[in-house]
């Protein structure tokens, strides 16, 4: 593992471990995320995919008793260095959570604009919001009720709102935790399309339980598995086409052929 990320990687972890109190949930993961590519994180439930993802934008540490060791390099700079401001890190690395979490007291419009795009006129803000909502395939469903509460949206609509909220902030890296878990096939197709088109400009790391989805949208796939002590380990990472056709590790093969998990 090189200490400084090569130009091809925007994001890399170096011996990253994550703890909940005494429990080590993710152990010694070193992985590189290719710039302007989609990396899929797959693995059975509870293997630490969410935890790993949450370490990449320093949101893991906001939980009480949660700890991170090792390094995460963004453009070669350790985001856990003492002089790094977590707020700046999170502006550059956006996140869509596993469960939709719209802000209950803000309108749909204000949810999308919550990242605080200052210095824009009303019209420009509306444009930003419309673009984000269109990209998240939600615009047609909410364009007549932008001022209403997001809590009246369905679960899938809420999830797309959260996607719109994340991309309106224009991050360089977008972390997506099972972004299509609560969506129907049509919305799923739109979001997958979005991921592919976003990958032209941004870097995407997406957790998914759906093997076909990983195969469809990702350039690189990483497979994780919890060992006997329930520590999540990175087993294998490779180009998606290679990993799905010629996995190097027998455990990867077992998983993608559905023999466990």
């Amino acid at each position: 593992m090189t200490a400084v990320a090569a130009p091809a990687e925007i994001l890399a972890t170096d011996d990253l471990s994550a703890y909940y109190g005494e429990h080590k949930a993710v152990g010694d993961v070193s992985i590189q995320f290719r710039r302007k590519a989609v990396t899929a994180l797959i693995g059975p439930s509870g293997c630490g995919k969410t935890t790993l993802l949450r370490c990449l934008n320093r949101i893991h540490e906001v939980l009480f008793d949660a700890r991170v060791t090792g390094r995460v390099l963004l453009d070669g700079h350790d985001i856990y260095a003492t002089d790094m401001d977590p707020m700046r890190v999170r502006r550059r690395i956006g996140m869509v959570f596993q469960r939709p979490n719209p802000f209950p007291t803000l309108s749909i419009l204000d949810n999308v604009l919550a990242c605080g795009r200052h210095g824009l006129t009303r019209e420009q803000k509306l444009q930003v919001a419309e673009r984000a909502l269109r990209a998240a395939a939600l615009w047609d469903e909410v364009k007549d009720k932008l001022k209403t509460s997001p809590l009246r949206l369905s679960g899938g609509q809420q999830q797309r709102l959260c996607i719109a909220r994340a991309i309106a902030a224009e991050p360089e890296v977008l972390l997506m935790d099972e972004p299509t878990a609560s969506l129907d096939p049509i919305a799923t197709a739109v979001i997958e399309e979005l991921m592919c088109s976003l990958a032209k400009e941004f870097t995407i790391v997406a957790v998914t339980h759906n093997m076909q989805q990983a195969a469809r949208v990702s350039d690189v796939t990483a497979f994780m598995l919890a060992d006997e002590t329930r520590i999540g380990r990175l087993i294998e990472v490779d180009d998606t086409s290679k990993l799905f056709t010629k996995p190097r590790d027998p455990r990867t093969e077992d998983y993608i052929t559905g023999r466990f998990g």
Binding site: L63, R90, N101, F103, T105, L151
Partner: protein, 298 residues
């Protein structure tokens, strides 16, 4: 016929269903007892309300609401200065208690573990159990005795001490009920901890916090003891918080223990006003709470 069917059914039931009849009876007994107690409680509450209304409603008229007390022997007079005094004293107390209580609540909710937060919580629990007369005495020692001068402000201070523990604990709880995922959503957008709290978490918790505030105001509205040696009371229109001031519940107290029937009648009138005020505040609190629950589940 029906009984034989049920007899067969009872025999065929697995062992864990045996004794169903007796359990049903016990449950019936328990429900009945609870209902009875609830009825007794409701009836006594209604009796108190009815009695106060009957005694007090005759005293209430325009003069009663707008005039100052008249000297003994002069008919008429009212508690207008007491109403204004209550508003001033409780208003100042609220202005002091709200920011302190809310910020402490936010602090406890966000950084709630460790020695300092735990001791803060313990102190606030202790404070909420201290009799109000003792708090009045403390305000006296701190703000009256050194200046040798009763003042409405010292009463506000005592009221603030009574409101603080309620506000601290309820606003902490209100903020805690906001899901962690909402807070994380705000942080993940690059908001500062402070901004996420003020802009996203606090508004979500607001109805519950307003409820707590209304209940805290209702609580001190009914307090008399701490006023005895702080606000002290006054016969005049007094609006300067630095001076002794009339207060409604204090007037009720003074009038009620007086030997004059006309004053005693006015005490009932004042008591009725207090009950109406507390009733309105509690009703407002209920409505806000209903809104809060709806907001969270919607």
């Amino acid at each position: 016929m029906a009984s034989s069917v049920s007899a067969i059914a009872e025999r065929d039931l697995p062992a864990r269903y045996k004794g169903l009849g007796r359990r049903r009876f016990n449950s019936f007994l328990g429900t009945g007892l609870a209902l009875f107690c609830a009825l007794v409680a409701a009836a006594s509450l209604l009796a108190i309300l009815g009695y106060v209304v009957r005694q007090g409603v005759g005293a209430i008229n325009w003069e009663f609401l707008t005039d100052v007390p008249h000297p003994i022997g002069v008919p008429g007079g009212g508690v207008g200065n007491g109403i204004v005094g209550s508003l001033i004293i409780i208003g100042i107390a609220t202005l002091m208690a709200l920011p302190v209580g809310l910020l402490t609540g936010i602090y406890l909710a966000l950084f709630g573990r460790g020695v300092l937060p735990e001791s803060l919580r313990f102190l606030s629990d202790v404070l909420s159990g201290v009799p109000s007369i003792a708090i009045g005495l403390f305000a006296y020692a701190l703000l009256v005795a050194p200046f040798k001068h009763f003042s409405a402000f010292s009463a506000s201070f005592a009221f603030m001490m009574l409101m603080l523990p309620l506000l601290v604990r309820t606003s902490e709880q209100a903020i805690r009920t906001v899901p962690q995922t909402v807070r994380e959503g705000a942080l993940a957008l690059g908001m500062s901890n402070f901004r996420a709290t003020i802009q996203i978490v606090l508004p979500t918790a607001l109805p519950a916090i307003v409820t707590a505030l209304l209940l805290a105001i209702a609580r001190v509205t009914g307090e008399t003891a701490p006023l005895l040696f702080t606000a002290f009371g006054s016969q005049f229109w007094e609006t300067n918080p630095g001076n002794p001031m009339a207060e409604l519940s204090l007037q009720v107290f003074t009038y009620a223990i007086s030997p004059y029937p006309s004053w005693q009648a006015q005490a009932w009138g004042g008591a009725l006003l207090l009950i109406v005020a507390v009733f309105v505040l509690s009703l407002g609190a209920r409505l806000m709470l209903a809104r809060a629950m709806r907001g969270l589940s919607e």
